[in-house]
Symmetry: C2
Amino acid sequence: MRRREVLLAPGQICSHYYFVERGALRIFNLNAKGEENTRYFAFAGSFGTALPSLIEQVPATEYVEAIEESDLLVIDRNDFYRLVETLPPFAFIYRRILELSFVQAQERIYGFQGLSALEKVQWVQRRLPGLLTRVSNKLAASYLGVTPATLSRLKVRL
Amino acid sequence: MRRREVLLAPGQICSHYYFVERGALRIFNLNAKGEENTRYFAFAGSFGTALPSLIEQVPATEYVEAIEESDLLVIDRNDFYRLVETLPPFAFIYRRILELSFVQAQERIYGFQGLSALEKVQWVQRRLPGLLTRVSNKLAASYLGVTPATLSRLKVRL
DNA sequence: TAAAAACGTTGCGCTAGAACAACGATTTTG
DNA sequence: CAAAATCGTTGTTCTAGCGCAACGTTTTTA
């Protein structure tokens, strides 16, 4: 997978899980004003996909994009669900994926609430050390929900 | 369950699912500044619990509180997991609960992003009609992430 | 490898929403 | 059922972060 390659765009129905062997994915969407909003970064060793679309088989609202040259293991949804429905160990693994995805999403969201922009940056440095140096200023800003200009100014204040 | 009764407080490990037969629950947490942050309202016909704590059996960070006189069906975690692990229909139901919880949380969060306070109020009116009249101004404000004063001003603008 | 596009940083003014405050209305409590 | 606490509303002031802009640097593309 090349840098900038788009694996899934809004409107498409997601039919794959991706396991990142090398590189990085990000899941993001565009809001009503056309601004990018990064939900999640998946680095080597983790899964990434448009989970709502994959689960409900409705058109995705988000993009899945490689942000670095990446090697991915692609898992087909139908195969995956067949395994989940017939083999208990897979059912267990899927349950764990769902549980962890949910818990993680909650932590990120409610961890951010009520924090100033500077505090959000500090939160990310604690919870995702290295993120700010690994991804571009623009992408980190879209994850934090601030403008690139604001993030740039905050970084000088540690 | 009486109005204002607290079913679970931060620090406790959650061991129950609650199904709301009558009344309403809310799940909320306090942020670093001591402000309340409502994550979710569960009205009659839906489930409510501190899912991260229930799943991981770690201390909760949130409160579960009855906001109206309520009748609840209390489901014990151990019983529930035993059912999930032995009876396929329960495994399926639990999977659906997790999937829907995740999708719902995502929609709420990313639906809000980049919206002005007024647009958030309009979003809630579309998606959760009746919420603004059923719960107090203060609680609705804590769900929207604005101050009660701001919400009060917005309501006159429809 | 040169031109074009995108990005990072910094300056400056503006504004949405917060903070603080006051006060009448509603709710809770003893 | 009366006193006390909490809540909703509205006014005023203040500020964090945005919009816009400029410009040098890095990346992309042809």
